[in-house]
């Protein structure tokens, strides 16, 4: 169905080809996973299928790509629209119209299908993707998971024979990701659609793949094979494979079920051993300078402050019965949350549960409708930004928003000025966290993970005791994720309180002391990571599922215990 014949792609202005020696065939009706670390050209390979590479991106494509017998060299993307449906990384960039129903119909309208066929397929697709209740909603008001489903639906309606998806589940909560994958599974089984998808979160998709195409390194030829065989040699692998490699299982298990069936001896070996837990925080950060300006309105104290007033605030962040209403929607209600210095808290919950709103409230972007928010001694939404950066720092979902300058050096200099830090502070932090980035690099040219680290360094320049991260692992490969986890762990050890909103259960398992589950703007669970995460199947990491009932969370713990 899809055939790559010795394809190499060289973009204009680069000496090395982005991919080369790509030579494989995807038979009809298979679900093929494209895996590999960041920057190996996965998106390039996906783009070549729909003809967007090179027709839209420029560059030179050598070799031949054929889809359903059509050569992409002679067929423009629009002439392949009836056989290939492509969904890019950002669903928002994909939408042409403004409501769900129109969006589903758009592709069919372009292809000139008959009105009654269009009507039937729109209804079918609305049901298939669970979008019936949203049919007339403006797309701008949808949550991330809903948008992703609409984007997939919009390319499904013309009934393409090939579906190409770039990171379809990265932005989704575990349940929504399962839904999307179940839909893909159903398309492959019922309609015989050929699916080619790239995904960093292999633990979510690898068990559905019929074949895996691995791009091991930039410029290296792809490895094609059965998932278990490829995972044995892959530089990127899900935790269950990691566990399998550690235990020496062969063939490697790809699903929790396979692993569990083989895990009995391992469970026995681990039975008597202590589960290593992250050490409780000991270090304390120096207190931030006193607030420069007094808050405009005098704060009323319910009771006189007990004891010596000079004592540092016991919590890095304190939220009491917080409610936030935004635009007629009750985003948060009665939220109580305290974060101690040195503690790492993971906020989890489905898309739209209020995680981002809670982070925004902690950093003063959103004023509470009722209740109180405090970050150390400051009330965030009433504190001047200059003072606030020394108390709370937020790395937003899109780290690029924080970066304005043209070069890394300028960005760091600006960060030093913003934070009143000694010149060179930010640059020193960056070098420590991410060696090998030159001063004159444009922030846009950094990889996803590098950009995140730069934004993190910018935020850390002010040394805020409370660090917030919104969805930090989106688009990161396992290596970048491990590096981030290491950085955050050492920050916590220094005494930073860290709150991360994430869908990534593996990251939460690895880092968090505590997990707070949000649903519909309420806290529905708050407790030690091991307890909360294991109690809910959707949020349990793979290792916990394999080694239940004991609460092992990560492969690193198992490795440490066995050592």
């Amino acid at each position: 169905m899809i055939r790559f014949e010795n394809v190499s792609v060289t973009y204009d202005g680069t000496a090395e080809p982005a991919v080369q020696g790509v030579d494989f065939e995807v038979p009809e009706g298979e679900l093929v996973l494209l895996a590999g670390p960041s920057g190996v050209g996965k998106s390039t390979v996906l783009g070549a299928v729909g003809g967007l590479v090179p027709h839209f991106t420029g560059g030179t494509l050598r070799g031949r790509v054929t889809v359903a017998g059509r050569d992409t060299r002679t067929h423009k993307p629009r002439e392949l629209a009836d056989v290939v449906g492509t969904v890019g990384q950002d669903p928002l960039a994909h939408f042409v119209t403004d409501t769900v129903e129109d969006e589903l119909a758009y592709g069919m309208e372009s292809l000139g299908l008959a009105p009654d066929v269009m009507r039937r397929r729109v209804e079918e697709t609305l049901d298939l993707l669970g979008l019936a209740g949203l049919r007339s909603r403006p797309i701008a008001t949808l949550s991330g998971g809903q948008r992703q489903r609409v984007a997939i639906g919009s390319v499904l309606t013309p009934h393409p024979e090939v579906l190409v998806l770039d990171e379809p589940t990265s932005a989704l909560d575990p349940a929504a990701a399962e839904e999307v994958l179940a839909v893909l599974q159903r398309l492959v089984h019922d309609l015989g659609t050929t699916v080619l998808l790239a995904e960093h979160r292999l633990e979510r998709v690898v068990q559905y793949a019929d074949q895996v195409v691995l791009l091991p390194a930039p410029g290296a030829a792809p490895v094609l094979g059965a998932p278990a065989d490829v995972m044995a040699v892959s530089p990127v692998f899900p935790p269950v494979v990691d566990l399998g490699r550690l235990a020496g299982w062969s063939p490697l298990p790809l699903t929790v079920r396979d692993a569990r069936r083989r895990a009995a001896p391992l469970r026995e070996r681990l039975a008597g051993r202590e589960i290593p837990r992250p050490a409780p925080p000991t270090a304390l950060l120096p207190a931030p300078p006193a607030l420069g300006t007094a808050p405009r309105r005098p704060r009323l104290r319910a009771k006189p402050a007990p004891g010596p007033t000079a004592a540092p605030a016991p919590y890095a962040a304190e939220v009491r019965s917080l409610a936030v209403r935004r635009d007629r929607v009750q985003a948060l209600r009665h939220v109580d949350l305290t974060v101690s210095p040195g503690e790492t808290v993971a906020l989890m919950g489905r898309n739209g549960a209020g995680k981002s709103t809670l982070l925004s409230a902690l950093v003063g972007l959103v004023a509470p409708t009722s209740g109180t928010v405090r970050a150390e001694d400051a009330v965030p939404h009433r504190t001047a930004p200059r003072d606030l950066v020394r108390r709370v720092g937020l790395v937003p979902q899109e780290p690029r928003d924080l970066l304005y300058a043209d070069t890394v050096a300028d960005e760091c200099a600006a960060a030093d000025r913003d934070a009143d830090a000694a010149p060179g502070t930010c640059r020193a932090l960056l070098t420590e966290l991410l060696p090998g980035v030159t001063d004159d690099t444009h922030p846009r040219d950094l990889s996803e993970g590098q950009r995140l680290t730069l934004a993190l360094s910018v935020v850390l320049t002010a040394r805020p005791p409370l660090l917030l991260l919104d969805e930090p692992t989106r688009g990161l490969d396992y290596a970048a994720k491990a590096r981030l986890a290491g950085i955050l762990r050492s920050l916590a050890a220094e005494g930073h309180a860290i709150v991360l909103a994430t869908h990534d259960v593996e990251l939460a398992a690895e880092l968090a002391h505590r997990v707070v589950l949000l649903a519909e703007g309420e806290v529905i669970a708050d407790g030690p990571a091991a307890d909360v995460v294991v109690a809910s199947p959707a949020f349990a990491p793979q290792v916990a599922k394999v080694l239940a009932p004991r609460k092992w969370l990560t492969v690193a713990q198992v490795r440490e215990a066995l050592a």
Partner: protein, 402 residues
């Protein structure tokens, strides 16, 4: 709070690894059913044709041009505002109503300010205040700065400005009630690609505003002030950069989804299309020229008609090149007739009233009298409320994305 959002009210996510049979619809069904948002699940009645909203609003605006009676104008504003409030959807474009109301108020204020400062041609005896008059050189004869401000002058300016303000508010009502992109869908096939360009531009503006808000929030995170002109300027470049990147991505996505596919039409048809369109446009030009010059009075009209017909023929033939079909085009149904009719009735009634009883519709300012409410034109204006009762109510509650 009532359960209004299907996604948010779903119960705990389905358990275990997703090894459910491929044909099972359980997860979605469960989510939708458990969501149980009654408003969302109720089968939505088809929305009104956007053209009907525009005609209704423009008819009210036309009615407003027939009178300067502030009571009638206020009634017109009240009628359109009531319909907007009860029937506008929770969509981004519906928020433009507030902007139009503000614009209308600005018109009032500016007009009154000008009358106060520059004086008014209306003779008056009731002096409200006397401003110091600025002596002007004699080349500026006829212009007065400052001086006497009379109640008559102010009343006249107010009435006049209210007329314009009402017109603006009526246009705002149409903007809030009718989805602009659905209106553009009613364009003929040959103009479709242009229509899409306009739709994309329309959806771009809200995205741009969202970008500005996001980047200003990010400025705050960097410890800079998020308010003021400087803050605005500094986010300008990243916002434009983002917009450019998004437009490239959108162009790629649209191309990949078949935008711009053309049907193969025989070369003869293609040539005929080009000839008809070009020839028609030339004919229109020549015909207009003929009409406007004294010499061409004889051939003007026939050439214009032939040119117009040829151009329309070219447009129709050109439509054959697009393979595009329409999904659920808005139908012009009985409700659309009623809505348009109610607007037209208001306009017709005021035209009639203006002819029959001009004094009631244009209350005098010299001598200054309190305007009275003419009974039957007022009753006729209330007919304009009809759409608030016969059109479907908008769906309730929209959930903010996280």
């Amino acid at each position: 709070m009532p359960a209004t959002d299907p996604e948010a009210t779903g119960t705990t996510p389905p358990a275990g690894p997703p090894t459910r049979p491929a044909g099972s619809r359980a997860p979605w069904a469960a989510r939708v059913a458990a969501g149980g948002a009654p408003q969302a699940r109720r089968s939505a009645p088809t929305p009104l044709h956007p053209g009907a909203w525009w005609l209704w609003a423009l008819a009210l605006g036309t009615a407003a041009t027939r009178t300067t009676n502030p009571l009638l104008l206020a009634l017109l504003v009240a009628v359109s505002a009531y319909v907007v409030i009860s029937r506008r959807p929770h969509a981004p474009w519906a928020r433009s109503y507030g902007a139009f109301v503000k614009l209308a108020l600005a018109v009032l204020v500016i007009r009154l300010l000008f009358t106060t400062v520059l004086g008014s041609p209306i003779p008056g005896t009731h002096t409200v205040v006397t401003l110091p008059e600025v002596p002007l050189p004699d080349w500026a004869q006829g212009i007065r700065l400052g001086g006497r401000v009379t109640a008559e002058g102010l009343a006249f300016a107010l009435y006049d400005a209210m007329k314009l303000a009402t017109l603006l508010i009526c246009v705002g009502a149409a903007n809030a009630l009718a989805n602009p992109s659905r209106l553009l869908k009613s364009l003929p096939g040959a103009l479709y690609e242009m229509g899409v360009a306009v739709v994309v531009a329309l959806t771009f503006a809200p995205n741009l505003i969202a970008d500005v808000q996001r980047l200003r929030a990010a400025r705050r995170l960097r410890g800079r002030h998020d308010k003021g002109v400087r803050g605005m300027l500094q986010v300008g470049l990243p916002v434009l950069e983002g917009a450019l990147e998004r437009s490239v991505a959108l162009a790629a996505a649209m191309d990949a989804r078949g935008y711009g596919r053309t049907a193969r039409v025989p070369a003869a048809v293609r040539r005929t299309t080009a000839a008809l369109t070009l020839g028609g446009l030339l004919g229109v030009c020549a015909g207009t020229y003929g009409l406007l010059t004294a010499a061409g009075g004889t051939y003007g009209i026939p050439v214009l008609v032939v040119g117009l017909a040829a151009a329309l023929g070219g447009l129709w033939l050109g439509g054959r090149r697009t393979v595009r079909t329409r999904y659920r085009p808005d139908r012009w149904d009985a409700r659309a007739w009623l809505v348009t009719g109610s607007g037209a009735a208001v306009a017709a009634a005021l035209f009639l009233a203006a002819a029959r009883d001009p004094a009631a519709l244009h209350p005098g300012v010299v001598p200054l009298v309190a305007p009275s409410l003419p009974l039957w034109p007022a009753a006729a204006i209330l007919v304009g409320l009809l759409p608030a009762f016969i059109t479907p109510a908008p769906e309730t509650a929209a959930k903010e994305p996280s």
